[in-house]
């Protein structure tokens, strides 16, 4: 469970000494030369959560993750993992964190096995234990038979899987994944999703950053919507949909350029070949639309009630569509 916030204001503030939270982030700020990258970011995670960071490029997701992993220093604020300050005691907490960066950060000229051997030792695992763990993660990624192949011969999806595997060798409690599925085939994406779900089931807490809503919906039970350096909304997916999403009606009539005003419709927008009408009274609006269709002899191709989506939540919270 995460605390829910609107804008930068938390709805309730967790007690920092509350042991239920494994990660507590308070008031993170970070500015680069020409841009305020983060503005007062707060969130807390309980163990076993699968937490999604959703936002467009430049929203501040990667900066937040880089601060959590010690790559970037925050200008102010704090981040505590199991009560230890991530910025002041990075060595003490690095063993709990596995980080999968947005880029494929592997040595292309080395084999998958040699890459994993390096990252395993870099995380402090060695000897027979490391060899066993390499075997385990390779089996998990489905690349056991390709372990001795040079990484440069792998497909993008296979590289992504090894990229994730390299962060699992020290068995982290918190796995941070920064857009780990960029530019891969559906098969590899599904494989990665399954890996993440499995890790989460095993108790690994997940922070997953993406700008694909369907990924958040598929993987995360809690979501933070980020835009322009701050968290605009945060909470369990169902609650966000309930709080910010509204039912909508999809109407497709060829040649229909505009729709008459309906007092129960909160917004109209073009969607594909038809119109999407957001409303809290879908039954009444649907009834009136059917009447109009009959009066004006519309050639109705499609008329249906659409469930609230994360996209509509994002639109409502940020004022822009995610793809914008």
């Amino acid at each position: 469970m995460v605390q829910v916030m609107i804008g930068a204001e938390p709805l309730h503030t967790p007690n920092s000494s509350n042991n239920d939270y494994m990660l507590e982030v308070n008031g993170l700020k970070k500015a680069y030369a020409k841009k305020q990258a983060l503005e007062n970011v707060n969130f807390s995670l309980r163990p076993g959560t699968s937490f999604g960071f959703l936002g467009p490029n430049g929203a501040g997701k990667s900066t937040t993750m880089k601060i959590l992993t010690g790559i970037v220093k925050a200008d102010s604020g704090s981040a505590r993992l199991f009560g230890k300050d991530l910025t002041r005691e990075p060595a003490a907490v690095s063993r709990f964190i596995g980080y999968v960066p947005q880029e494929i950060t592997l040595y292309e000229k080395l084999s998958a096995y040699d890459n994993l051997l390096f990252f395993g030792e870099a995380y402090g695992v060695s000897g027979k234990e490391l060899k066993q763990r390499i075997h385990d993660v390779l089996a998990r990624t489905g690349l056991l038979e390709r372990s001795k192949d040079i990484v440069s011969t792998f497909s993008g999806g296979m590289k992504r899987r090894i990229n994730i595997a390299a962060a699992l060798l020290h068995r982290p409690k918190l796995l941070i994944l920064d857009e780990p599925t960029v530019g891969i085939d559906p098969q590899s994406r599904n494989h990665i999703f399954e890996m993440i779900r499995e890790l989460n089931r095993e108790g690994v807490t997940i922070i997953y950053s993406t700008h694909y809503m369907e990924e958040v919906e598929a993987l995360c039970d809690e979501v933070a919507i980020m835009d322009q350096g701050s968290i605009k909304a945060m909470g369990p997916l169902g609650e966000l949909l309930e709080q910010y999403g509204s039912n909508a009606i999809y109407l497709e009539v060829p040649g229909l350029a505009e729709l008459p005003h309906d007092p129960d419709v909160t917004s109209y927008r073009k969607e594909g070949s038809g119109w999407l009408l957001e409303t809290g009274s879908s039954a009444a609006v649907m009834q009136r639309l059917l009447r109009l269709a009959s009066q004006h002899r519309w050639d109705v191709k499609q008329l249906e009630v659409v469930r609230p989506s994360l996209e509509s939540v994002f639109l409502k919270v940020t004022g822009t569509a995610l793809r914008d």
Binding site: G70, I71, A91, S94, E103, T105, K109, E121, A122
Partner: protein
């Protein structure tokens, strides 16, 4: 750190470009220079000769000359065409033994042989003239010996009468002058050691550009361990490079390696100097392109001024003085001392310390610049 070192050694082993720069190129250069200087060494002076007399006396004269220099006999017909070649600068001198040479000798007359020469190539023709003068003198001495013996002197008395009142004794001493292979093998080795800087800069910028450096920072590897872990494999690489190149010189050109302990000390110091400067450079320049340019300047400029291409004593005094500020000079100087002049550890420790100081300077720059480099990698 052990993980870093093993990983980096694996990457260097798979880097074909490094292999070309660090081993293949210097071997090609050594072979090229070695071939040139070996040819020069085998034929110090060449004299083209036209024997128009074709007599036993003329053949004896040619045989006598062959004992001293490289004699190339030209055909007697159209020999005048060869004069044009002298004018064109294709060779500098030609000796013509005219018809009637033997007959004149038998009659006790002076045999007039002609030496055609390029007046602009006095450096090359002067030794030929000296040799021919010496041969002429030996003919005169033979004539005088015959005369004295005809007057009743014994051979010993005749030789004593003709003996020179001056005796010149040859005494060998050490000097800066070298066998060219002694110069070429260490020269090319030292020059190409500094090309490691390109490989080093490329590796650091790759790590930074690909995000690997950022990722490594999330592991338990500390910044200083990262630096040493990246640096040490290059030290080993340079040592390996030097071993291969000196072994090549030794087995192919019979290069005498001298005191192995002293040679090892210089190679170690040189590897620390080259890689230390490479480390400093990697953290100073803004990108791989700049590193490439600076490396070329350091490697080629240092080779020229440091006496790697031609022996330092042949360079102008001002250049020799500048050379003292370059690591290449001290490396080459100490290597030549060991290889050509039989120096030992006690003789080269000063040069080795100077090389270590260059390496230390590079390491210091790298240490100072490391935090900034890591910060820039994060973005």
């Amino acid at each position: 750190m052990k993980a870093m070192i093993i990983k980096e050694l694996r990457l260097i082993g798979k880097d074909r470009r490094s292999f070309i720069f660090l081993l293949l190129m210097p071997i090609i250069f050594i072979v090229m220079f070695g071939s040139i200087f070996n040819q020069e060494g085998g034929s110090s002076i060449t004299l083209r000769t036209v024997d128009q007399d074709q007599s036993s006396a003329s053949k004896a004269l040619i045989e006598q000359m062959k004992g001293i220099m490289d004699v190339k006999q030209l055909p007697t017909d159209h020999w005048e065409d060869q004069l044009d070649k002298i004018k064109q600068g294709q060779f500098s001198a030609m000796l013509v033994i005219p018809s009637g040479f033997e007959q004149s000798m038998k009659e006790g007359k002076a045999s007039n042989i002609k030496l055609y020469q390029d007046p602009a190539a006095q450096t090359e023709t002067a030794p030929i003239q000296a040799i021919l003068g010496s041969i002429s003198t030996s003919y005169r001495e033979q004539k005088l010996t015959d005369l004295l013996m005809a007057k009743g002197d014994s051979k010993a008395q005749a030789d004593a009468a003709l003996a020179s009142p001056i005796h010149i004794e040859n005494v060998s001493t050490n000097s800066d002058h070298l066998n060219m292979i002694d110069q070429v093998v260490p020269g090319m080795t030292v020059m190409f050691v500094f090309f490691i800087m390109i490989t080093m800069a490329r590796r650091f910028f790759e790590e930074k550009k690909t995000g690997l450096l950022s990722r490594i920072r999330t592991t338990r590897i500390k910044p200083l361990h990262y630096l040493i872990g990246m640096w040490f494999p290059f030290v080993l690489t340079v040592i390996f490079q030097c071993v291969i190149l000196f072994a090549f010189g030794h087995y192919v050109y019979d290069l005498k390696l001298g005191d192995i302990a002293a040679l090892s000390a210089v190679v170690l110091s040189l590897s620390i100097a080259g890689t230390g400067i490479g480390l400093g450079l990697s953290f100073l320049v803004p990108g791989e392109g700049a590193a490439m340019v600076v490396t070329q300047i350091i490697s080629m400029g240092g080779a020229m001024l440091g006496g790697l291409w031609v022996p330092s004593y042949l360079l102008p005094q001002s250049v020799q003085t500048i050379g003292h500020f370059l690591p290449q000079f001290w490396a080459q100087h100490s290597l030549l001392d060991i290889i050509a002049h039989g120096a030992h550890l006690g003789d080269i420790w000063g040069s080795a310390l100077i090389l270590l100081a260059f390496g230390l300077a590079g390491l210091t720059i790298a240490l100072i610049r490391l935090p900034g480099f890591l910060r820039s990698a994060a973005n």
